[in-house]
Symmetry: D2
Subunit: 316 residues, 4 copies
């Protein structure tokens, strides 16, 4: 495709790809509707060796946030009870010795799903809901809680970095639809309806080695704007990547920040997953040549959440 | 069994059931080692209809905490960006309209796993680690991060409430080992090595209907102390329930608070899950008579966490 | 005065009492401008015995919040380092033994100032600022930081409860302007320009004894709506009380929640202080018959804060 | 003085300067006992012009923390209600339009007091309390709440930077007792019993201009170890500075981190204030040649707090 990315292209794609009403006017999960129970049964047959890959990065102070975007900070983990308290005899009145703790985090600060209410187009959310439904009380519509049992199905890894013989795609590298298709062909895997598609650029692994730098909000490889058409055509359930925001940065336009987001979430209702840890899974897929697997990535049931921190599981 | 529960019985069970070193001196996951890759492949064959049951309760201010235990509070969900901000034009400088949020919660405040470092016996944790490894910096040993890819396998529901024709077992009702076995037989399901066993009392469903009351830390139905022997003998991977603390309350002794915990976590290294939402799953099992399923309950990768909030998935 | 309280009366009072522009179009502190340096020098002369009264209530989990209003919760105090850690040797690498901690609180959850950006009238804040300046990033205008050096001057206690020979005024009791004046006369004190006026109802002391109940957001004694005229006429700097919201509840109308607030903050720019602890101060004033004192109640410099938790000092 | 700083010197100073029991065995405020009511009355006479100087730095994300010390982070300010919500009509059900917010902060993360339970010597706190009294529930002894009405008296600024004709003393510059005395003489002010002594190095002002860098926990000018003898001899109430930790860094020894702290808090019970903003006050003192003033720096009443964020007021 040859798209001049900008507000006009966004408006055009919004018009063409809009899934509002497609799954009913009360629908809250969008493209996750593409997964049928039969797909899940079929995906179960991909569990052949019993290997489990955890795709979540650690939640701690070393995490990716750097102050570049929107007041986000790294997870703050604090104790309510400790072993040192126990040993000092401070818990003995309670006749139990234990540890307990709290976690404060940005919902989208590490490996996470975006809920469909995360991005607006003009005054609207997916399915035509008014963006005013999202206030200080949270997402009155389209919160992540609606997806509590919907993140199960067939997973497909498209290892673009390995396909191009690179450890990591360079910042600013835009992945074209044709390249996704070529990679799939080379990997001998077909992307289809209801799939959880995971795109590997190598960026997160590089950062785990070299430091986060501007990972969260800075430049990155990622899919081109045209990818919104590809996702719609393939009828996938969700798209995920090992980057901060799935799409290429700097963006292909300066008229909009994250132009692909402007379309895929509010118009299409496409679920996306970000900052997936893919090293071990990708190495295994390269070793056995099998790039499909059972995928299970349940969100926390955060009422009115814009997303959820997750630790998705790829099972082969 | 006929056990006089108290510190002596705890010491005796600790001695008899201690799994320290059983899976190596560096082991951090205890009985989760009971699950083999082959078990996971076999469990996948239980996915026959593609039904997915989400077992996590909502994380919000309405949650179960009531101040009864250890300074725990209900989840605090706050916005970093809203649709009302977007519509007021407050985000336009950033060329994107979006919502974003934070979550502060007690790790063990709703549906969750306990990590093996959650409970101490005298000065020790599971596998002989010194409890002093748990300080204000978190769990230096046995944190939940070690289980990131270990919560997958065969799930078995033991619906004791339904077995006894009750909506909810009464507070203080202790479930004997023999009753677990009888229930399994009646349900035509066998509990075995590597299983994720889920015990339903009906209490959480009652509270969702009638209000939480003293659910968090008050009286409850649950397994008897003798259950530690049952879990060891069955070689299960984990035990879960729809109550605050799995075991019966008031406890069978006043010498220890949660005497079963004193044994199963530090001596055995048994993983436990608490406050599971079981209504839909239990109704489905009752309807089709099938009480086994594929289980996938990934924890968040909380470095040094005493556990993790979760939304486990039962897939049939 | 005989006012039929409602939206019409609010509009009328807003029109009559509006101080917009009175202290310049860039003014951020409103009636605090009433205090002159000479007033502060004069107030210093009220320090005659060196007695200091702390007017802040404790910040801890026992605090007044009860979930009745706007998602507010009680302070959460958590440790980052403890003596038990120190004694367990967990800090020795750092060659210092110490304790450290964090505090999470609702800015207006205990004894506090309201900033002038706390309340809007229609689409506006005090001095004509657009309410859209208050978004998820905080108060772009009229934040509490502007008052960092303005909370010093002469304090006057009007002990209405004692004046009426009551421990505590009953809920729903509206204090009329005439009663404030009569109390002042009885106490032999005159209220004037630049004063920090503190009204005692006895309610907070009652709650400290009997439990908070619905203190935060429920019924209460307090000033009548007509008080806005009194404050303007007296040219006071600020008004404070030992209740949750200064004004009487149930309010004198159902057309508006806190009708007095609708006027005094956005129209007048009047600073108010709430939940002041007055027992010790009031007893001392009753004993020596002196109801004026040096007042110093510095807010924290919370950038863009709607107010600040405080521990104001009355010095005699 | 000529002290070889190290553990031996600490032990010796601890022995010589120990104030345990000096103000009773139940004393919780140490040297703050040096202030008498008469001192406060006398200090009031220093209020001659009505000028008020706020000594607190802003509490926001731009603050001094940098991850160098103990998991401390900058203040997190979040909204519970906004003007944009109000204007979008999201509050109209409540018949009031308002803003509300929360603050999460490290108690010692910006301008603050240290409570006497902040530092331990071996297993003890000031006045002989066992350090085990400080556990995950906070300071069971010596919390900041005990000082709620004790931070009032005569303030004295010792502007060492200006005395030496420097904008900022260099990192590692140790201020000797003799230099404090010389500065006081040059400023024509005497330091005495019950004073709140504030030492200006210029470092905080430099950081406000040039960026925080390693201000929090890195190198700094500050008082020498011998200063503990000076504080005891002068019988001051408290010592404060515009640096992170009052004393010189790198410290004069590698045997202890913050050796002066080891003595002044647990042995002497000396209150200290850190990160004071002194620019405006210092300029005024230089202009009128008056380095004494009324000081009022009330802490928040944080039950069991290791200190309190503050905005102290110097009034001339």
């Amino acid at each position: 495709m040859d798209i001049k990315v900008g507000k006009k292209a966004i408006a055009e794609a919004t018009e063409k790809l809009k899934n509002w009403g497609r799954w009913g006017k009360d629908d809250h999960v969008g493209t996750l509707n593409q997964v049928t129970p039969q797909d899940i049964v079929k995906a179960a047959s991909l569990i052949r060796t019993g290997k489990v890959f955890a795709l979540g990065i650690p939640l701690d102070a070393s995490g990716p946030q750097n102050g570049l975007f929107g007041g986000r900070f790294n997870p703050i983990h604090q104790m309510l009870a400790t072993g040192t308290d126990a040993i000092a005899g401070r818990q003995d009145w309670n006749r139990i010795r234990y540890a307990d703790d709290t976690l404060m985090l940005c919902v989208q600060g590490a490996t996470h799903w975006d809920a469909l209410g995360h991005i607006f187009y003009e005054e609207s959310m997916y399915n035509g809901h008014d963006a005013r439904n999202v206030d200080c009380n949270g997402l009155g519509k389209l919160g992540i809680e609606h997806s509590r049992s919907k993140m199960v199905g067939r997973g497909v890894l498209l290892d673009i970095a390995r396909f191009k013989n690179l450890d990591c795609l360079p910042d600013g590298y835009g992945i074209a639809n044709a390249e996704l298709d070529a990679c799939a062909r080379a990997q001998n895997v077909a992307v289809g309806r209801g799939d959880f598609v995971i795109v590997r650029t190598g960026q997160l692994e590089k950062c785990l080695k070299d430091g986060w730098g501007t990972f969260a909000g800075g430049d990155a490889p990622g899919v081109k704007f045209e990818n919104c058409y590809w996702c719609q055509e393939k009828e996938i359930a969700a798209i995920c990547s090992d980057t901060w925001g799935v799409e290429v940065r700097p963006n292909e336009t300066t008229e909009a920040n994250q132009p692909w987001h402007w379309v895929v979430i509010p118009a299409m209702g496409l679920t996306m997953g970000e900052m997936f840890y893919l090293k071990d899974l990708a190495e295994d897929c390269a070793a056995d040549g099998i790039y499909e697997f059972f995928f299970c990535g349940p969100p926390l049931v955060i009422t009115g959440g814009t997303g959820s921190p997750i630790n998705p599981q790829a099972i082969k």
